[in-house]
């Protein structure tokens, strides 16, 4: 595609930032009331960074993360992901980015309830049109990597929270994305299984992925490379970094 070639050619001219947000706003309208959850946020993430987003409840962390993950679009402002101007993409292009460039891990796991661990990990591979043999290889490799080689055939109801989150991480890694986004991935887990999940993210970071994680847990934030603070929909400049 000539468009992509053009963007590729421009690459050196742009920054080293894999994620670049400028003056991003997001307003939610409920009935007649409009609420601005993000009020002009600038945010940048470098390739290979391990970044924690923190802030009080309701400060707009999830809103921002959803925009980063192309699950939602900003009301205004620019968002450039891997040198692609996301504002200008159509819904199919956004779907393809979610499929290949980004792995998203949710606090509520968001697994298909009727499908096994194996089948849940398979979903993004199906949409990426990976053939059956490769799918099988990759799923088995991913599930053993997250330590679930023996839970392949379990459904979400037959797994613990930590195990479900591991399936979700395996699914996020399915198409080998460069960026892993996690919105309070340990929020629903006890300390021990939460620790295991954090450990996994560290390993992924070490293998070269860009990790952005929302957390309330200062211990987790401290283990990251950089902390980004949000407050009332704005960047909290009051001492970024811990």
């Amino acid at each position: 595609m000539s468009n992509e070639m053009l963007l590729a050619a421009q690459k050196p001219v742009l920054t080293d930032n894999v994620i670049s947000m400028n003056n991003v706003r997001k307003a939610y309208t409920t009935g007649k009331v409009t609420f601005e959850a993000l009020k002009g946020v600038d945010f940048h993430a470098r390739r290979g960074e391990f970044l924690a987003i923190v802030g009080p409840s309701g400060s707009g962390k999830s809103t921002m993360m959803n925009i980063i993950g192309c699950l939602d679009i900003p009301t205004s402002g620019d968002y450039v992901l891997d040198d692609q101007v996301v504002n200008k993409l159509n819904s199919n292009q956004l779907a393809d980015i979610r499929n290949r460039k980004i792995g998203f891990v949710f606090q509520a796991f968001n697994l298909l309830p009727y499908a096994t661990a194996y089948e849940n990990v398979e979903v993004p591979l199906l949409f990426a049109r990976v053939n059956a043999r490769q799918r099988k290889e990759r799923i088995m490799a991913l599930l053993s990597r997250v330590g679930l080689a023996d839970k392949v055939a379990n459904k979400p109801t037959e797994m613990s929270g930590g195990e479900m989150q591991r399936v979700a991480i395996a699914r996020a890694l399915a198409n080998e994305p460069d960026i892993i986004l996690a919105d309070e991935p340990t929020g629903n887990l006890d300390t021990k299984s939460g620790g295991g999940i954090v450990q996994l993210f560290h390993e992924l970071w070490q293998s070269g992925k860009t990790i952005i994680i929302i957390t309330h847990d200062m211990n987790i934030a401290r283990q990251s490379g950089r902390v980004f603070k949000l407050k009332d929909g704005l960047v909290d400049t009051n001492g970024n970094g811990i």
């Binding site: 959803n66 993950g69 699950l71 939602d72 679009i73 819904s91 199919n92 779907a95 393809d96 979610r98 499929n99 290949r100 998203f104 949710f106 968001n110 697994l111 298909l112 009727y114 499908a115 089948e119 398979e122 979903v123 993004p124 199906l126 949409f127 990426a128 049109r129 699914r171 399915a174 198409n175």
Partner: protein
């Protein structure tokens, strides 16, 4: 769009959600069956009732002689009226609105003999036009009395099917059951034609046997039990000067009342009675009865149609509801799939395929079962008057297809619209759906 992707996801999810899909198919199937059986039995009943009501003939009136009850032109009341054979042509000539007129003699308790079998039955003298007016229809291989028989006063006889069975079969079926066609009837009809029987000791040749017909009303007994000979022969053989009945059929059944008035005028003039004297002639307007019957049948049909429509509506709402509920439940599923990279088109195609497959599987399964049930019901050969009244359930494939199409479209729309909505918003919104 990548069809193999859609196919893979579709097949996988379809297998995974067997319970929900099976339930939907059963609901659809059930809706289709109840409507089709309702309409099928209704149609069968309708046909049967309209056949039953017409066995004695359609659009005719029956006359029999009475007694004057009003004085007329100096003549007193209480005078008996009598029909002569000439009245038939007289009426036909005087009243051009009449299509057919026929005169009829009766004699009861006449001995009829074939071989060593003797029965005592009802003999009828009548004319060939009874085939049209009174449904004296011959079974294959035989014929009704014809004009030459009349002209030459031939000794030929047309037998009622029950009577023929009693004479020509060693194992006649139950004589009281007029409603069920005897399994022997065809065989007996073949056997009887051309045979000679004795009526009051006089030889007559059987020219035909009546087909089985449903006769619900009569003025002189069931046609199945009678032997009919030409009216001219009857007059000659039994020396009977008076006709017992005259029946007529107008060109236009809607002018029955007008024709009736003319009949009273014409005969009143001939026999000198007041045309307004209702007792001078007995009259039975069979067509009026049939009109009532037709109205009732139309009522039944309308009633069944309304019930069928309501049932269809309920079924459609039920199907729409199941599809709608299941897809509401699946909004999260749509959100999850979109979040991991499903394009909008994949989601919509998958849901559309699924809805089509489910609705048509359920619809055609229902149609198939309904047809199998009614066919099975037809095969059960219960000798029962109740069944004879109820008739054969008749499923119309056209109605079935319309039912399936309506339910299908409802199901597809109910399935597709929520999916379209879920796929058109951002994945976050679908994921947040509880």
């Amino acid at each position: 769009m990548q069809w193999s992707t859609i196919y893979n996801v579709f097949v996988r999810d379809f297998r995974k959600q067997k319970k929900r899909i099976t339930l939907t198919i059963i609901a659809l199937c059930w809706g289709t069956i109840s409507i089709m059986l309702l309409l099928g039995f209704g149609e069968g009943l309708h046909r049967q009732l309209s056949v039953n009501g017409k066995g004695m003939g359609e659009g005719i009136s029956v006359l029999w002689p009475g007694q004057t009850s009003l004085p007329w032109k100096g003549l007193g009341k209480g005078r008996p009226i009598r029909f002569v054979p000439e009245d038939v042509d007289y009426l036909k000539n005087k009243i051009p609105e009449l299509k057919e007129v026929g005169g009829e003699y009766h004699r009861w308790g006449v001995s009829i003999k074939y071989g060593d079998k003797v029965v005592s039955e009802h003999i009828n003298g009548l004319s060939p036009n009874y085939q049209d007016m009174r449904n004296h229809i011959p079974a294959a291989g035989g014929r009704m009395i014809n004009d030459l028989d009349m002209q030459y006063k031939r000794r030929v006889v047309f037998l009622g099917n029950k009577l023929a069975e009693r004479l020509f079969s060693d194992t006649p079926a139950d004589n009281d059951n007029w409603f069920q066609e005897s399994p022997l009837s065809k065989e007996v009809a073949q056997k009887a034609v051309g045979k000679e029987i004795l009526i009051n000791g006089m030889p007559f040749t059987v020219v035909g046997v009546q087909i089985h017909k449903m006769q619900m009303n009569s003025y002189s007994g069931m046609d199945a039990d009678k032997a009919s000979i030409p009216a001219t022969t009857f007059e000659a053989v039994f020396g009977d000067p008076w006709l017992d009945n005259i029946i007529y059929m107008p060109n236009d059944v809607r002018r029955m009342k007008e024709v009736e008035r003319k009949v009273f005028e014409v005969l009143g003039q001939k026999y000198k009675f007041d045309p307004k004297d209702q007792r001078a002639l007995g009259i039975w307007d069979v067509a009026a009865n049939q009109k009532e019957m037709d109205n009732m049948l139309f009522g039944i049909k309308l009633f069944l149609g309304i019930i069928g429509g309501l049932t269809l509506l309920i079924a459609a709402v039920g199907v729409a509801n199941i599809m709608y509920v299941s897809i509401k439940e699946r909004t999260r599923e749509i959100g999850i799939k979109m979040a991991v990279g499903a394009r909008r088109g994949y989601i919509l195609t998958q849901f559309l395929l699924e809805a089509i497959l489910i609705t048509f599987a359920g619809g055609f399964l229902g149609m198939f079962i309904s047809i199998a049930l009614t066919e099975g019901f037809k095969r059960v050969n219960i000798q029962s008057e109740v069944l004879a009244f109820m008739g054969r359930p008749t499923i119309s494939i056209e109605i079935g297809l319309v039912v399936v199409a309506i339910l299908g479209v409802m199901g597809i729309m109910a399935g597709l619209f929520p999916a379209m909505k879920a796929a058109s918003v951002s994945p976050v919104e679908s994921l947040r759906y509880e």
